[in-house]
Structure formats: C-alpha cells, structure tokens
Symmetry: C2
Subunit: 143 residues, 2 copies
DNA sequence: AAGCAACTGCAAATCTTTCGCAATTAGTGT
DNA sequence: ACACTAATTGCGAAAGATTTGCAGTTGCTT
C-alpha cells in the first residue's frame, strides 16, 4: 500500500491508528464513525473512539475522506478516491444506491438556473424507497 | 381553529400542550424541536421539552406533521398540509430554499426508471451553496 | 361525579460527538 | 543510535440532543 506516502504528502504523521482508520473507511464504504472504530479494533483493539473521530476529521481536512448525511442513521464516511456519486438511501431497508453524478447533471443544472443554487449531491443522501420496499407498503424491511 | 376536531379525529386527546405544539409547527415552518418548545413557552411557559418531543412524534404518527433532515443542523418539523416541496440547504449560511416538487419531477422520474428508486425529496434536504455564498469561496457566511 | 387510560413533568439515562490535559510517539536534525 | 519538539493518542469528563421510567395529573367516556 502506498498509504505511507499519501499521508506524509499531506503533512500528516504516519501512525498505526491513522493508517487503520483510512484503510477502514476505504474498505467499509459509507461507514459510521462507530463502524470504523469497530473495524480498526480488530487489528488494534486499544484504539480510542475519540481518536477515530479526530482522524476522520483530519483525513477529511486533507481531502482523503468525505462524509455524507445518509438520513436517520447519522454521518457516514467514504474515501475521496471513490467515484463521486449521489446516494439514494432507502428509508425502509437502509440500502444505499450509488448514482454517478452525471446522471444528476441536468437536475443540478436546473437548480442552478432556477434558484442560483450550486448543488452538492454527494453530501446529502436522497431519501426514498427502493423497489422491493416500495412494493410492500406497510411492512418495511428494517435491517 | 378547527384543531380540536383534527386531533380528536385522529384518536388523540386534546391537551393545551398538544394544540400549542401543532400550532407552533404550523407557524414556524422547518422548526427544530427546540424552536417549537421556545414558541410554545411563550404562551405555556411550563411545558417540558420531552413533552414537545413526544408530541412531535405523536403528531407525526397520525400524519399531521412531518420531519426532514436539513443537513448539519439536525431534524426539523413542518406541517403536513404545507405544499410538498424539496429543500435546498446552503451549507455556508444555512438558508433554505424551497422548490416545488414539480420542478424535480423529471429528475425523480429518471431515478425511478434507472434505479427503481421511489424518491421522497421532501424528507432530506439537498446540500449545496446559495448564489451569494458560492461567490465568496473561502469566507462562508456562518449564520 | 367517577374511573381509567392517556398525557405531562421531572429527573435520570442514552447516545453521539467534542474537549482538556497529560503521556506517548513520529519525524527531524545530530 | 540519540535527543528534541510538536503532533498525536488515550482517557475521562463535558456537551448537546433525544429517550425513558415513573409518579402525579387530566381529558374523555359513562
């Protein structure tokens, strides 16, 4: 892994905790800080939750990770290198569907034209229901 | 006000607190539970914050109010009778721009066609930056 | 007017995220 | 290899938001 250089190049120190947090974000995709901590604990049980929070913030500041708000479940982090995408978040089963940002281009353009609004669809999920949950009206698939 | 019947018709008891919470949500539009409590306290100073939370939940269960996630600032409630609309939430200054749902119809249709996703744009705000914040790159207007 | 379940107020519990501070450690220069 | 300094960590406490248990109150039905 080229992580060592990635982190140093950003002016960050290379600590085991930091490497593991970054690796966890990359592997998990859309993970909550709690989930990242769980993952890191597998190989580094002593890590403190506040260290995870601080590293997520630090890594976000240098642009290596980003967070999104995916609805009820709080904040989630993903690696910046992932293709930029919007998130469709099923409110019933929690499934996240990723949509390439070009598929949203005409919509965001219309918001710019109509409201002068510069949309950042990557940051907040779009709520709704996926096909299968939509078809069982009153029996949501709680995960 | 026809509130009395509205509430009873839903099988709810008519308490001053409940009436005031509903009235506050209707007047405030996009209010946080905290803001609703403030409003109610003007006429009913003794109301407890947990009563506000409980009533918001109850009123949501019977469909009289709904909540949305408008970005970093937490949950906000609005009356169900309001025109359905999407929210554009400026991440710099916090301004909320309301967009009639028809303006989003072709976008949501394309998500349905492409991903089988039934979009509920009213529930989660769309993040971005409003015109004026967009024009001052590194000096966000924190409210 | 009486009874009961719904509702409220209060205090404490949870949950998530942040902060202060002292101890540790990575990266630099010697 | 060794020492130095600032960044980073762990830990405990704090803060903010929301929930819960419980006992007392109150709306609604009879």
């Amino acid at each position: 892994m080229a992580e060592k250089h990635e982190l140093r190049d950003k002016g960050l120190r290379l600590t085991p905790q930091r490497e593991l947090v970054l690796a966890a974000v990359r592997e998990l995709e859309h993970a909550t800080p709690e989930e990242v901590a769980e993952k890191v604990k597998l190989t580094h049980p002593g890590i403190n939750l506040s260290t995870v929070y601080r590293n997520l913030e630090t890594l976000e500041n240098v642009g290596l990770v980003q967070h999104s708000h995916l609805g009820h479940g709080g904040v989630r982090y993903h690696a910046s290198t992932e293709e930029i995408h919007a998130h469709l978040n099923c409110e019933s089963c929690g499934t996240i569907i990723e949509v390439p940002i070009d598929a949203t281009a005409s919509f965001t353009q219309s918001l710019l034209d109509g409201y002068g609004f510069h949309t950042d669809l990557a940051h907040l999920a779009i709520a709704g229901r996926c096909e299968s949950c939509f078809n069982m009206p009153e029996a949501p698939n709680k995960p």
